[in-house]
Symmetry: C2
């Protein structure tokens, strides 16, 4: 007998392109897309082939959303908080100030209302979004001078993500938008006073410690960064159900890989940075409190202007306020005990 003719329809040979917002050199985050494409190929015997292009090759880093929305490309790998200027609501898919940590974000997306709410947001952009990577809590960045009080923020030229910049500008900071590759010379010349990038593993490659020795934590604007896969909605609709499901599983697997890479590589990178003179510092509590107060004030303003922002903010905040006290109990006390008995 002949093989069933549905075969050709069930397992079509497809060639897609993926535009990344990240350069190859930021390998931990860039490889989120490479691993995703590899997993899709493996699960389809190579029939669904997705070719990954680093930032700038077919699309500029910050135009991945537009490219996927327009159908210029079938899919993209990006950070949703890059699009704060388009609509701050998009940041809930990536990171927002004083937001969820990695585990809490995973819980909100997969067991809370996160994915459902964000799918509705991205539907207006003709995009189906998937979590595809996480960085863990990021660092607060590299500063040429110490930050000892809120007054030290006055006039500080700080390269940061847009949402963090919007909070910090309320405290006198002058936010700077500078591409990753241009940060080092700007810091060296003193054109800017401080810059945040990701964390030790990525920051080490750019050598910031040589020109801005104070390395602050925590990066309160990124308790985690959830990295995203965007799929053009029309392209997605043409896929067999099986390929759609495979995208879901491939992105989940790539998420665990990226988190494992950061968690395994950051510690040694931080030790090397300190050995080379980086001075590790925590933001003073009154600076943290002032930033938290201004973040809440900005949230209130954004919510007053946009009911859609308010709806997702309320859901996200209620989830956070429910989970945070629980994470102090067994998880937090276990981590603190292990930290107390582990000396390096």
């Amino acid at each position: 007998t002949l093989a069933a003719p549905v075969f050709a329809q069930d397992s079509p040979a497809l060639n897609w392109r993926l535009a990344s917002s990240f350069p190859r050199s930021a390998d931990a985050i860039y490889n989120g897309s490479v691993n995703f494409a590899k997993y899709v190929a493996e699960a389809t015997d190579g029939k669904f082939n997705i070719r990954v292009f680093p930032a700038g090759e077919i699309l500029p880093a910050l135009q991945v959303l537009d490219g996927v929305q327009n159908g210029t490309i079938e899919c993209g790998h990006t950070a949703s908080y890059y699009y704060y200027g388009k609509d701050p609501i998009l940041c809930f898919d990536g990171a927002v100030p004083f937001g969820l940590n990695t585990r809490q974000m995973n819980a909100w997306m997969r067991h809370g209302d996160g994915l459902k709410l964000l799918r509705a947001v991205f539907d207006k952009y003709n995009i189906v979004n998937f979590p595809c990577g996480a960085t863990g809590a990021q660092m607060g960045g590299w500063f040429r001078k110490e930050i000892n009080s809120v007054a030290d923020l006055q006039g500080l030229k700080f390269r940061s993500s847009a949402f963090a910049g919007a909070v910090l500008s309320r405290l006198g900071v002058v936010p700077q938008q500078i591409a990753g590759g241009d940060i080092y010379p700007a810091l060296e010349k003193g054109t800017i006073d401080a810059a945040e990038w990701i964390g030790p593993y990525d920051d080490e490659k750019l050598g910031f410690n040589r020109v801005a020795p104070y390395y602050y934590f925590p990066g309160w604007w990124e308790g985690t960064l959830q990295v995203s896969l965007y799929v053009n909605k029309d392209a997605y609709a043409t896929l067999p159900k099986r390929y759609q499901d495979i995208i879901d599983q491939a992105t989940a697997t790539a998420t665990l890989d990226m988190l494992a890479t950061y968690d395994a590589e950051n510690p040694a990178a931080l030790r090397r940075l300190i050995a080379q003179g980086a001075k590790l510092k925590s933001f003073p509590r009154d600076v943290m409190d002032a930033c938290y107060r201004e973040a809440n004030a900005l949230y209130a303003e954004l919510a007053a202007k946009d009911p859609a922002f308010k709806e997702i903010l309320d859901n996200y905040t209620a989830f956070r306020d429910e989970l945070v006290p629980w994470f102090r109990v067994s998880e937090g006390s276990f981590d603190q005990f292990m930290a107390a008995v582990t000396r390096r």
Copy 2:
């Protein structure tokens, strides 16, 4: 032209059975296997069908390893520390006292040497192992009386996992092996003094708070529990490469689901338990210190007896000691700030 004849071999219709070590009622952990099977079916258009059986239906809960090893069944979903009596080395695949937390375990498995080392261990049991779920840090359990000092452990009849029991017996505890369903009556009658199960979401269903009001944390013997899928090695070898890869992705996806379920459901369960009279308590620091000291002494004895145990212990401990200080920095300080400003 005819369809390529390899098609039938590439996508064979397979029916496998999976034995779970967990009852249906422990739905968060039990569903790890249900979700895994669902994901495999979705990625193969239902051709690779895995039927899940709860604990006791085709194999007793604690005989899943034997059943997979012997080929009685193709695969099983279990906790590797159940097999401490067979060989303590197996516990590194599940949880060991004062070990890695969930993120650190994921990093050791996927980016460190964890999976490679554990695959070599399980190879001797004719098993290919996969991480397939995580619970997060578990609770320390339910106690009829307060534990205020190491002396209070003397003679305490405590139902716990075997590795924890081996540590605690060095401090005078009398470890008890009791199946989940028998814990409540034993606690009620006073046959035992204390019992640990999992965490609020599962514990609430068994009603321990009504007979043992002191709810202690942290469960230092389970900074996380990594739940495992065991696949019979011969059955695994018959699979097309694509099906093998799909198992990998399906287990990763099921892992994120289980963690999301626990992290989202535990907080409200804990609040309900407290409202019903549970008294939340942390183990005193000197009790924690004594347990840590005895755990290390037991590790040293097991390592002296078995070079294979020593090899994996050394790798695991070095990884832990590298990661734990890093997790204090941005991750830990972010979580602590959020806990400080989040009041319930």
